[in-house]
Symmetry: C2
Subunit: 592 residues, 2 copies
């Protein structure tokens, strides 16, 4: 069975050495010092490695079953879900008014990384519920909040997002699900939704569906869309469960991976729904959920690859095969361990340097959200809005690549299911697709976020890098290895942004043909920035004397690898972007 | 069900416009003109699309079953195998003395592409048999050839390669299977082999296993290894089948993909084996089979991605989602087809430009093998030896990437199994692993092939590119778009090779840390060379007047895309290589 070791030390390093959590100006959270967060992370890590990880392969093998209209989850899932709930983990960063523990979001992400690493498919039941919590918390009436939030916070009831229909994926404007106003103020919802994660299951008493539908007479396209709360069981005035609502599971999808999660076709046949937020402003309300979900999927992208890397590393140290080209390292054994071979090391360093950079980016992103929510930091809000598609698209693409690299180290053993490496790859693949396929993230970044508020946020991003480089440019310990390459990469990004501005005005295709490369270019620059910040932090720890010097030296070496061997990709992305639309759009569709 | 359209026109283009097959100096094969090869390709294409492709998903869903020691293949496989056999396809490029049709190998590859595209797992039964044919043909005694080859050529008996053991993959020197000499001149084989493709099945009368084993008293490591023929059923003197031999299927592996192929654990318990080739020279004999298998796996790498691309293209033209940013293209529909979107086009062009370049490389490689075999062309032999790891490693890595790109175009529909896109990805994944994982290919290229015969072959490769560039450098129609970028990329490759020569002598790790990047750099330069040759051929056709001008113009546009948008990767690979070993090897294993 695959191993999983919670990366507590690495999480602590980012939270405190890099983000300086307890002194970073999150009002009411000054208590979040090292000891405090370590206790939380230890407990979440223990639950992850001891309860959730052992169920990961069982979930893959058994999958979910639809029996007489009810979805059955794999053996052990219900007990594990109870354990997560009882530990208070579902309530960690929720509003205390509704039973939450009131922690900042960054702690939800730090613990969430471990839950995802241990069992991605399982954690989705909770993840989507958290999305429903956020949407109702932001847009619900007082009554809706009182009715639904306490049970959602405790995950006694779980949540779903219902967007996609058979003919309408990214293009929600053409969806057909209808909402007819009823005399009692509710709506009658009719239509079919597909690909509904956690759509139904046997681990909670109720499922609260958030459903996009059109009220007759609304505008064309997305303007006519509203968002509705459609509970599986209607809720009585006293909070008890009432009638079964007119929503049923049509089928379970057969998927490449995440078999432990029930991906459902949901049929709404005159189901009773309640408007959430304003009429015809459903997209806005849904985006509260979606933006959070995108950050969450970015987290899945790298977190899902963490155990893949850990297992590849263990295998590379254990498996004896061939001899080091520079002399035997294990003379008494039949062969040397795989890790002596340079190309194995290259693969492990690619994985390690990406994952640690991704962890920093993910936690920094969560911290920006906390800054915007708790400290009304508008700059932080702008920055995270800009970077959401980068976090989602880049971290999931590279996360998937990382699982493939890890699987490759096992050779043929990686291809047979027994070792569990195939599952990491198959599970990771979905993260590039759902919550907006990565091409849509790239479009969001270049077509919308770049120019948002007059380009203010991307300028702020460049300014931040510039000022960081200025601050540390004379620091010999990091100048050559970190600051110099960060400057080069950042310049590539600026050149690309400028190219879009100049050419994209005349011909939008010139910008959009380079959108995917731009997303990756942005991702590399951001990870380089993370590594530079981590290097500064590691250097500070070393300078001020630490009894954990090996940890910090390893951190610096890993960062140098990223700067030297990953960051040069920015030049290729820029070259691709600068070709403009011509090579991409030259052929007419008929010529293909 | 996924579609598959045999790419006859593209195959013909490479065979005749680019390779000038009938006038290329293959003795005895001057009859291979356009009409002749078209008839062959049409027939193979028809079999592929009508018989093999419809079984692809069935094979994936049913897989193989082990029943009372006998492997059962999926429904329809046996009838299809009979059809392949009856069509004479298994004998196409085999020696007429043993029932073969005596076609050149390049025709085996051209038809093989379609068989693989249609059903990768199914085609492996024949593919491995062909490898056994080649090994026995090259190293067998007259009696062995007479006994085995006619039945192998007709695939009445199929073949396998038995190398891997549980503890010995790449490192065959440590294998434990024993061969004890018997009084009758045969050997008693005992040991366990794993990951044996087509190890057993119900589609042939006999299975001829080629098995690596150690005769006691031989040298250490690979020097003590010999190769043995171990038939499932012993063959009587009159050619009829005799006793069941002591070889059994221990288990079937559960794999990520290629479910239609029986991947077996084979147990040898005192099985009767016959030495093939010289004692203790088993590795040499096995490499006859392995080199062919590596070219064959390179073929699988891109051929498996061809239908993935075709289905993605069809979906992109059919699926209506969103509007073109430069104005609606399908005003009367609810939305425009996906193909109007620049990022979808970027993905399709990445796929198309790789696949067509890969097809040319694969056929050129096969043609080099024909030149070396039929025309005793030593330069061709040296060149294909150099390029075998590039063909295997680069085409399978990029082929897998291509299936992932194709799957992505389907969004969520790509992740559910019904559409078949997941299978293309899962099946393609094995090609990066078997017949020498791609890291081993990179090691073979940099550690062995580069310096082979004093570096003569790589110098010949550079000379060939140089002379091609000189020949066409003044041709305005191709100079700027094709020759100029080819020169730049080729220079990157030479710089990398020089770096290895200078640094690798002192510290082999400096070369091996860049081996994987070098393999990809080499692959890009080779594909650019292929595109330049295709561009020249297309331009010639256009200049000399053709009624198929659209085809040739599309070819030129596709090639330009490759040169502009894929080839810039060479700079990044070079930058990674030039870092040397330091960032890769800096951390001690304990520091990970």
């Amino acid at each position: 069975m695959p191993i999983y070791t919670p990366p507590i030390r690495d999480l602590q390093f980012v939270l405190h050495d890099v983000l300086a959590l307890s002194t970073s100006g999150l009002p009411g959270h000054e208590e979040l010092d090292r000891e405090f967060t370590e206790a939380i992370l230890d407990a979440a890590g223990k639950l992850s490695s001891e309860v959730l990880a052992p169920l990961n392969r069982i979930g893959d093998q058994q999958g979910c079953r639809l029996e007489n209209g009810v979805v059955r989850t794999p053996d052990g899932f219900k007990q594990a879900f109870d354990a997560v709930r009882e530990g208070g983990w579902t309530a960690l960063d929720c509003d205390p008014e509704y039973g939450g523990q009131g922690m900042p979001y960054v702690m939800g992400v730090a613990t969430g990384e471990m839950f995802v690493s241990a069992n991605l498919a399982f954690n989705m039941y909770q993840g989507l519920t958290h999305g429903a919590y956020s949407a109702i918390h932001a847009h619900g009436t007082e009554e809706q909040k009182r009715t639904y939030l306490p049970k959602i916070v405790s995950c006694e009831w779980t949540g779903t997002m219902n967007l996609t229909e058979p003919h309408a994926g990214t293009d929600l404007g053409i969806l057909r699900t209808k909402a007819e106003p009823q005399d009692d103020g509710s709506y009658s919802i009719t239509g079919q939704k597909i690909f509904i994660s956690s759509g139904d299951h046997d681990m909670s008493d109720n499922v609260i569906h958030l459903v996009l539908a059109k009220v007759p007479g609304g505008g064309e396209g997305t303007k006519g869309i509203s968002l509705f709360i459609v509970p599986k069981f209607l809720v009585n005035e006293d909070g008890s469960l009432g009638d079964r609502n007119g929503v049923t599971v049509g089928a379970l999808e057969h998927k490449m991976g995440i078999h432990g999660n029930a991906t459902c076709v949901m049929n709404y046949d005159g189901a009773k729904g309640f408007l959430l937020g304003e009429m015809h402003k459903g997209m806005r309300a849904m985006f509260t959920m979606m933006n959070e979900a995108r950050i969450g999927v970015g987290l899945q992208g790298y977190a899902g690859a963490v155990p893949a890397y850990q297992n590849a590393l263990a295998y590379a140290k254990d498996r004896l095969q061939g001899r080091s080209v520079s002399g035997a390292r294990n003379g008494t054994g039949v062969a040397d361990p795989l890790i002596v071979h340079p190309d194995i090391r290259r693969s492990l360093m690619d994985q390690k340097s990406f994952l640690e950079g991704a962890r920093a980016l993910s936690l920094w992103g969560a911290h920006l959200i906390d800054r915007s929510r708790l400290a009304d930091d508008a700059d932080a809000e702008g920055l995270i809005s800009l970077m959401t598609p980068v976090i989602k698209g880049f971290l999931t693409d590279k996360g998937f690549e990382t699982t493939v690299l890890a699987q490759q180290i096992f050779g043929g053993h990686g291809y047979v299911e027994e070792w569990g490496m195939s599952q990491f790859v198959r599970d990771a693949r979905i993260t590039m697709i759902y919550e907006g396929a990565n091409g849509v993230q790239a479009l969001d970044l270049v077509g919308r976020k770049l120019a948002q508020d007059g380009g203010k946020h991307v300028m702020a991003f460049f300014e931040m890098i510039k000022s960081f480089c200025k601050q540390h440019g004379d620091d010999e310990a990091v100048a050559a290895d970190f600051i110099a390459p960060l400057k080069v990469a950042s310049k590539d990004l600026q050149t690309a942004a400028m190219f879009f501005m100049e050419r994209g005005m005349k011909n939008p295709d010139d910008a959009l043909s380079g959108s995917y490369d731009f997303m990756h270019l942005f991702g590399h620059v951001t990870l380089a920035f993370m590594w530079a910040r981590m290097a500064v932090a590691a250097q500070e720890a070393l300078s001020s004397g630490t009894d954990d010097a090996d940890f910090y030296r390893t951190k610096l070496a890993t960062g140098r690898y990223y700067m030297k061997r990953q960051l040069p990709m920015t030049a290729t992305h820029l070259a691709r972007i600068q070709t403009g639309a011509e090579p991409v759009m030259e052929l007419e569709p008929e010529a293909f």
